[in-house]
Each structure stands twice: as structure tokens, then as C-alpha cells.
Symmetry: C2
Subunit: 291 residues, 2 copies
């Protein structure tokens, strides 16, 4: 066994592109995982997935200011770059791109990328500028890294859908692959924000997962009406005094349109506050029409 070459940590966009273009010239395939760092098993699973899809894996670690609203937690978003680099090395990542915000965004920046109809619903209701910040940074990163495959996490299902739409509508030459949600043993979806939970909130947090599990049980047993499922989810969240529901919905997974009856690709996204921490989770599944 030859030792894996060292991971390159690169700050300059041009240097990243030079590296990936060298690889491409040799016919090598590149998979890219954009992240905001503070890695957990969810991130690592995407890097492993990327490994299986390409010859080289590039990740980015960048807490992107343009996707945070003015009242949101950009400053307080958890960060630990040295630990992230160690974990990425452990996954045999080839390049970790660590851009500087002031290099990435010109002060007279004017360009905005919108995916209309998808960006202002669900997460976009409470975070109206969030997804235009996401599309902007990911499109920039795709132009810098020029990967063959973009690996995204299902935890942010709406984000993944919006980026898939953007890639298709703009003919960006990249294939988008989603990796599944990774959960703690008690069902809590892994999130960098979980570290902000108090011990009591942490114990309460799996209520999102349990509510979605209840929904799955109802659907598996034949329920196709939206209201009974939403009622069950809301009741489950209400049982937990530390949790406050932000939204839950049952929508068409392809366009986020609210469903009247469950059929086809169904997405049930949920967001709830535990204290001052806002958590999201979702369930996506294929549903056959009731017989």
C-alpha cells in the first residue's frame, strides 16, 4: 500500500483551479463537497461518497456570509478549521479549499442568482435571502473547482433541490449527487449547530426525528391524507416543552408544491427551535397512490 499523498490546503481560487485542471487534463474525475466546516459524520459520509464517485476529492470549508441574514448566526456559527483539516485528511481528501471572504466577494459585487418559486418557501420563509446566498457561493465554487460531480447532503433537501435546478437551468457541466441524512443513535440528524444545544435541549432534540418517524408509520399503514399526518407531527412536537415548531409541510419533492394527497416523491421538511437553536430535518420517500 502506498501512503496517501498529503492533502493540499489552498486559499487562492486560481491555485485550486490550476490543480483540478491538471487532473482533468489527465482524464481524472473530480468530486466536490462544499461545506461550512465544523465537520460531523454527515460531512465525512459525503467525502466518502465523493471518493467512490471520482479519482480526486475536493472539499471547501467556508462559512459563507451571503447566506446568513442580518439577524442570523454568522458570527456565532461554530468553527474549528484545524480539526476539520485533520478529519478531511482522514478521509483522504485531496484538496481542501479555504477561501477568504474578501477574496471571494468584490465590494462592488452585483450579481445574484435566483431559483424562483423554490427559494422563498419553507426555509426561505424565515430566511428570505438564504438561498440566493447559497446559489451564489455554490455557483462560484463550481466555477473555481470545475468538478465532475457535486455531492450534497439530503439534510438540506430544499438546498439540494434548488442547486439541482440551478445546475440544470444553467447547463452547469456537473452531476449532482445527494448523500443521505446521517443521524445520532437517538435519531437526531447530525448538524454543526447541535453543539449549541444545552444538555436538556440535546435530550429533547430527537423529537423532530420521532415526529417524522410517526409520519412514516402512518404513511406505511396507508394514510394518504395530508392533514392527519401533519396533525400527528404537530402533536408530537407539542409534547416536547423545550421544542417550538417553526414549520412542517408535506410537499412534492420535485417542486416543493404543497400536496393535497400523498403520491409520488414526497418531502416532509420540518424546522423547530430548541431554545435559541433552530434545527431542521426531513423525510423524503416515494409514495404509491392509495389502492
Amino acid at each position: 500500500m502506498t501512503p496517501a499523498p498529503r492533502m493540499a490546503v489552498i486559499r487562492a481560487p486560481d491555485a485550486v483551479r490550476r490543480q483540478t485542471r491538471q487532473w482533468r487534463k489527465k482524464g481524472r474525475r473530480i468530486a466536490f463537497v462544499p461545506t461550512m466546516g465544523f465537520f460531523h459524520e454527515g460531512h465525512l459520509s459525503l467525502m466518502r461518497r465523493a471518493r467512490t464517485l471520482a479519482d480526486h476529492v475536493v472539499i471547501s470549508v467556508f462559512v459563507n456570509p451571503t447566506q446568513f441574514g442580518p439577524a442570523e448566526d454568522f458570527e456565532g456559527y461554530p468553527r474549528n478549521v484545524p480539526r476539520d483539516l485533520d478529519l478531511a485528511r482522514g478521509e483522504r481528501v485531496d484538496v481542501c479549499f479555504l477561501p477568504r471572504a474578501e477574496r471571494l466577494y468584490a465590494t462592488d459585487r452585483r450579481t445574484a442568482v435566483h431559483v424562483t418559486g423554490l427559494e422563498h418557501v419553507l426555509e426561505g420563509t424565515t430566511r428570505p435571502t438564504h438561498f440566493s446566498g447559497v446559489t451564489l457561493v455554490v455557483l462560484k465554487l463550481l466555477h473555481i473547482v470545475e468538478p465532475d460531480v457535486l455531492v450534497l447532503g439530503q439534510k438540506d433537501a430544499q438546498q439540494a433541490l434548488i442547486l439541482e435546478h440551478m445546475v440544470r437551468d444553467l447547463d452547469v457541466p456537473v452531476r449532482v449527487v445527494r448523500g443521505p441524512i446521517v443521524r445520532e443513535r437517538d435519531g437526531l440528524a447530525m448538524s454543526s449547530r447541535n453543539v449549541r444545544l444545552s444538555p436538556e435541549e440535546r435530550r429533547a432534540a430527537p423529537v423532530l426525528f420521532r415526529a417524522l418517524r410517526d409520519a412514516r408509520v402512518l404513511i406505511t399503514s396507508g394514510e394518504r391524507r395530508v392533514e392527519p399526518i401533519l396533525r400527528r407531527i404537530r402533536a408530537r412536537i407539542a409534547e416536547e416543552p423545550l421544542a417550538r415548531l417553526d414549520y412542517v409541510a408535506i410537499v412534492d419533492a420535485r417542486n416543493l408544491n404543497p400536496l393535497e394527497r400523498l403520491e409520488g416523491r414526497v418531502l416532509i421538511p420540518i424546522a423547530a427551535w430548541l431554545g435559541t437553536t433552530r434545527l431542521i430535518d426531513n423525510l423524503e420517500l416515494s409514495v404509491r397512490a392509495a389502492s
Copy 2:
């Protein structure tokens, strides 16, 4: 001398990208000229410029529906693809990309690219959706062709500025080069729309050029105030009974902000109607502050 290889006429986006990727793999450079066809000497000069900048030249001929308003002349825009192909062959173009609108635009298209602050002034005042149509199609074409150099015409100076901004803000890996305005012997800027002019309108049309020439004379002789120059331009257009001024402005060429005094890179764009045909022209020049 070896005969030039035949120009390939390609309709499928994937086939274009396959070709340009083959070239890139061999280290060849690609220049791209997007057009709406109905070629005149202005287009051909851009193709020649492209030849000097790269090993291979790709052009596109596509009357892009998304950049026409509902009341505009999409249907009536002049077209002559067989003639365009002959002219492009004469310029030793390697690939002519002839996309089909229904292949380029999905019916559930949602993505929009805006360059705020530049897209709703000047041309954008009367054509509010025009530039978002232009940014969308050019970004798509750049993702399909993946050129090293994008060659644009100075005749559409605002369009060129907006696309330069987009390319920079999104880190699109392409260099943008502008080719100069090409004029008829009487000064009329070449435009595909010139064929729509009646013989009388055609005789009157160089009034835009003459008005800009007057402005240049004033500036050369030391005038740095905006109002006398605008007055002279307006007076010149008013002398021509067949012409009706749409707008004229004196702006900073880098951001289209109106100037109070002329200094630095100055752009003077003008638009006027001759009958039912709307023509544009402009003068861009570097101005030293008055001594």
C-alpha cells in the same frame, strides 16, 4: 497551405461540449462569439478577433427569446441561417452552435441571473427584462462551450459591461474581450436591424453617429461639463425629422453612474427610433480632468 477543416454545425449542447473538451485536453485554447445571427461586418470582425486569441473559434447563432420583451421584435428579428453559415465558414470558424430553444429552456425553468444596478438603467429602462435574458443565455452558453475567451461587441457596451460583471462576480473561468464598433461608410453602426430601415430612414440613421462625433469634438476641445454636450447631441438628433431620441446619457463606463463632469472612462450611450426600428450607438473614451 492545407485547406481549413470544414466548420461543424452542431445543434446538441452535449456535442459542442464534447468537441471543446477534446480540444482543451490537447491544450488548445478556445474563443467564443455568441451571436443572434444575421451577420454583418461587426460579427465577422469579432470572429476574426477570436481567431487571433485562440486555437479554435466557436460561435453560436441563436435568437434568444428570453431577452425580448412581449412587445418586442422576437418574431420579426431578421434571420438567415444559410447565409450566416457561409459567412462563418469564410472566417474559418470551427464550430457553429445552433441550439434549439426548446432544448435550451426547460418548461419548468426557474433560474434567473441578475446584475443589479446595471440591468435596469439605459437600455434596461425601456427593456426591463432584456439583460436578465442576456445573462441567462450567455451563462448557459459559457457552461456549454467552456471557452477560454469570450468575445463581445462594443456596440452593445452595456451588455458587455453586465456580462463582464457577471463573469467576475461568479468566477466564470473566461476572459472577456471587447471588439470595436464597426460602421458603414457614412458612420452608421452596423446592426442586424438596419435592414428594416426604409431608404429614407437609412439615409437619416447616421444622425446617431454624427451626434456622438459632435460630442467627441466638444470633449476634445476641452468641454468637461455634461449639459452642453447632451444639449448638442439632442439638438443634432432634433434636426433629423425621421429620428426620435429615446435616451442619451453621459455615464461612468465602469458602473453606468451618471457623471456630473467628464473624467476617467466615459460612456455616452444613445438610442433613437427611426420609424419602428430602434437603433443604438455609443462613444466610449478616456477623459482627463480639465486642466
